[in-house]
Symmetry: C2
Subunit: 234 residues, 2 copies
């Protein structure tokens, strides 16, 4: 469970409580409002889970060991570049299935604006809770509770081959960084032209559905290319 | 949605918000903490739904027009006299099915102790959200959100004959009151012996699954008996 820029200590506490209710134990916060995080942790009855919550400076760092990263969204008027799955349809089932083999990072945005496009760029796909079309904005703690309940009640697809070992987000981020450097150094990315952004490269990597072994190989390839390009520059 | 003795204005507000999210519009409160209710209603951004919330002095009055009354419980160590259905199994489906034909009263208890046995006696059956066995106590607002989401995602069993018109709780309560008086006057209920309590009579009536027409007939019968018993007494 990853809370990105949460602002309200009560909401942080509510998220932790819902996690306990549904047997989820690892809480991570990306750039929380410092006062909010302090208050939430020092609240009377704050759980071990909350006290053990980890703080990160970026989404990339928070999801580095996850083999699936899912962002939550209320889908306002935004044009989304990502596949979107409903919690009660494919979304919950996919998360359950991945949990059989690896770790899933479920991202919730700040109370006011939710997740940004930059946050989304770290996600394989987006999860949506179907609500009344006139009242789509859920309270953060309630959204967390509903999502965790929905995932807990979903059916994992056990036909997935268990010998597949998906690459985790940290590996993919390394490839992204490397490849982007290669694209810059090779002149594919031109200064002032952000048609190919780091976000887009990251998304491409996530779409590849790389296995852990393949990710290693690919990272080696790109690293070698970058090394060569660095030589050229001198 | 019926909140019984809620104490925290934030929870009342959270319940109202979850109701909006899932398209549920009628909020009723039984003996709310007066200050909490006032604060919740006067909060900035309080919804119409919250402003239109109705207050009742008893559960019986709050559910009088409901044809199905369901209590929520975390099932601690309590011995329950009621059928218990899980939200993600039979529970949600049964509520959805009833909603096709009539009104359902969904009861949530106070933050501290939940619903009492007296509250339960007004319920046809109880609804349970499956949680981690070590952390079964959910926050009120989150429990409401999860239940409403679970019900919204449930499948209504449309094979139920639509010509059946179940008796509502108000009718059943009249029969209960009348029958209990008859039992007292006839000596079936003995002073000091509460083996047959009003709660038990109420439960019996709820179990009968009475149709509206049959309830009318039965009430007429019991009323006549009570009238006769009152004569005898003189």
């Amino acid at each position: 469970m990853v809370l990105v820029r949460p602002r309200n200590p009560l909401n942080i506490g509510a998220c932790a409580r819902a996690m306990s209710n549904f047997g989820v134990h690892r809480l991570r916060l990306v750039n929380p409002y410092a006062i909010a995080f302090r208050e939430a942790r020092s609240a009377v009855g704050a759980s071990e889970l909350l006290k053990n919550a980890e703080e990160f400076k970026s989404v990339a760092e928070a999801v580095t060991d996850c083999s699936l990263v899912v962002g939550t969204t209320a889908v306002r008027n935004r044009v989304l570049q990502h596949p979107l799955f409903k919690l009660n349809e494919d979304g919950g089932d996919r998360i359950r299935t991945t949990l059989l083999a690896g770790r899933v990072g479920l991202l919730f945005g700040s109370e006011k604006i939710g997740l940004t496009n930059e946050d989304f760029s770290h996600c394989h796909w987006l999860l949506h809770v179907p609500t009344d079309s006139q009242h789509i904005s859920m309270n953060l703690g309630q959204a967390v509770a509903v999502c965790l309940y929905g995932i807990a009640c979903s059916a994992a697809d056990k036909t997935t081959p268990s010998d597949s070992d998906p690459a985790d987000a940290g590996e993919l981020e390394k490839i992204t960084q490397c490849l982007y450097e290669a694209l810059e150094k090779s002149g594919y990315v031109k200064p002032g032209n952000d048609a190919v952004s780091e976000k887009k490269v990251r998304q491409l990597m996530l779409r590849l559905n790389l296995q852990a072994m393949d990710a290693k190989v690919l990272l080696g390839m790109v690293r070698q290319i970058v090394w060569k390009l660095r030589q050229e520059k001198r």
